[in-house]
Amino acid sequence: MARHVIAKVEELDIGKSKLVKVAGRDIALFNVKGEFFAIANRCPHEGADLCRGQVVGLAEADEPGKVRMTRHGELVRCPWHGWEFDIRTGKSWCDPARTRVKSFDVSVAKGGALTEGPYQAETFPVSIDEDYVVVEI
């Protein structure tokens, strides 16, 4: 298990996603309302890139025709078949127990702090004053 610096905080706006390749893995990084989450990029169904999916809210209804939108920006809809995944957990909405993608621990740290610990930022020049997204793999 190691911590990898994968992005500058400022390069990923709220609601946006980015593909990062780290430790041999393709990871989809999302900014959900200022919080960062990382899930495996490959949809478990037929392999589409989840980083290219639409970031959406959850459409819910208790009664036919009475629909409300909740959890804005917390789900990603696969760019192919539209299966929805919870960005926070990697679980699919329709079949959370069996259809899910791996979710990774993500934190944000100052560049200054990153120079002190056992961080890996091999592809990434880190400067002391900026904030960075760090993923643990």
């Binding site: 208790d62 036919p64 009475k66 629909v67 078949h81 539209g82 299966w83 329709c94 079949d95």
Partner: protein, 359 residues
């Protein structure tokens, strides 16, 4: 009579089999006249409302009927006893009256014919043999009157189901019909959807078909469309206590549709967010099917595979589709049907489907 036949008969009898699709002779005007009021008696006579057969189930169609049953002496209940109730040792037989009542355009005439038909069923059939149960025919053309008809018979527990066609005016999931389902659920009726078309729409997406054989093949499409409609319009969740019985639908087509709908639902559920479970789960909970015809491969060993695909021990209800020709000899239970499910098939599932049916 060979041993297998004797065995099947005696098994049905021992288990107290319930036949969920039995057809009384289709009543014509002469049969129904005593059950119309004076206005409608005058109208159906003057305006020649006489034969009330659906064009896709004409009673003259020779291959539709079993020759041996046809040849039996007698008529009405007497003939039914000789052909079916006695030899099969049935505990109950549910009568489904599939006639043009479903196809009449005039909503008031349709209501009058439905009322007369239900009264005729009661007097000419139910009152004459304690083993008989029936489905109420309803004027779906006139949902308000359909609700009244349900209320009118709510206390007669011998009516266990309300009946409509798989191809009528509109997809059956539509809200227009919800008051009917509300009343049916409240009184414990199941909703029966029987093969047949009111010919409001062509049975195929390329129009009306040349042959009756094709028309019959297309009943499956009507049923599949209704399953899709019940799921996607939210009827299954909205009326969770009302079972929906597909009658004379064929069986083997359903797994493929469940697979497709459940796959599509994962991506298309945003269109119908009130559908919160996979369509397969909803279908297995609430949709039931009668077993004749079954549409299985020739090799009986394959039947068990289809039943495994259905993956629902509660789904199938025993039926003969009497007096129609669906099976050879006395083999009413499809060949290869798993032993472990026979009790459910011939009895338990029907009792769970029809709350008005007493054990």
């Amino acid at each position: 009579m060979d041993t297998a036949v004797t065995q099947q008969r005696s098994m049905l009898s021992q288990l107290g089999a319930i036949d969920c699709d039995v057809h009384p002779d289709a009543p014509g005007r002469e049969d129904l006249l005593p059950y119309f009021d004076d206005y409608w008696r005058e109208i159906v006579t003057t305006r020649d409302v006489d034969r009330l057969e659906l064009t896709n189930f004409p009673t003259r169609t020779k291959p539709f009927f079993r020759e041996d049953w046809k040849a039996t002496e007698g008529k009405g209940v007497e003939k039914l006893r000789k052909n079916l109730l006695d030899p099969y040792g049935l505990k109950y037989a549910i009568l489904n009256c599939v006639t043009a009542v479903h196809a009449i355009y005039d909503p008031y005439l349709a209501t009058a014919v439905c009322r007369a038909t239900n009264d005729w069923l009661k007097a000419e059939w139910l009152d004459r043999d304690p083993r008989l149960r029936a489905s109420l025919v309803l004027p779906m053309q006139n949902p308000e009157a359909a609700v009244e008809e349900i209320e009118r018979f709510a206390d007669d527990k011998r009516f266990v189901q309300v009946l409509t066609l798989c191809m009528g005016e509109m997809p059956l999931g539509r809200r227009t019909y919800w008051p009917v389902y509300e009343a049916a659920q409240r009184h414990g009726f199941a909703l029966g959807v029987h093969a047949g078309s009111a010919y409001r729409h062509a049975p195929s997406q390329s129009g009306f078909l040349s042959y009756l054989a094709e028309d019959y093949v297309h009943q499956v499409q009507g049923f599949a469309a209704q399953v899709g409609s019940f799921v996607s319009e939210g009827v299954l969740g909205k009326f969770p206590d009302m079972k929906i019985v597909l009658i004379e639908s064929g069986v083997s087509w359903l797994p493929g549709q469940m697979w497709r709908m459940s796959k599509d639902w994962r991506g298309a559920r945003i269109e119908i967010p009130w559908v919160k479970e996979s369509p397969s789960a909803l279908v297995r909970r609430q949709i039931r099917m009668t077993t004749q015809p079954f549409d299985a491969p020739r090799d009986p060993a394959e039947l068990e595979r289809i039943i495994e695909h259905l993956d629902c021990d509660d789904m199938l209800l025993f039926s003969t589709d009497y007096p129609h020709a669906q099976f050879e000899g006395e083999a009413a239970i499809p060949a290869g049907f798993p032993e472990r499910l026979i009790d459910r098939l011939v009895r338990e599932n029907a009792l769970a489907t029809y709350p008005r049916l007493e054990d």
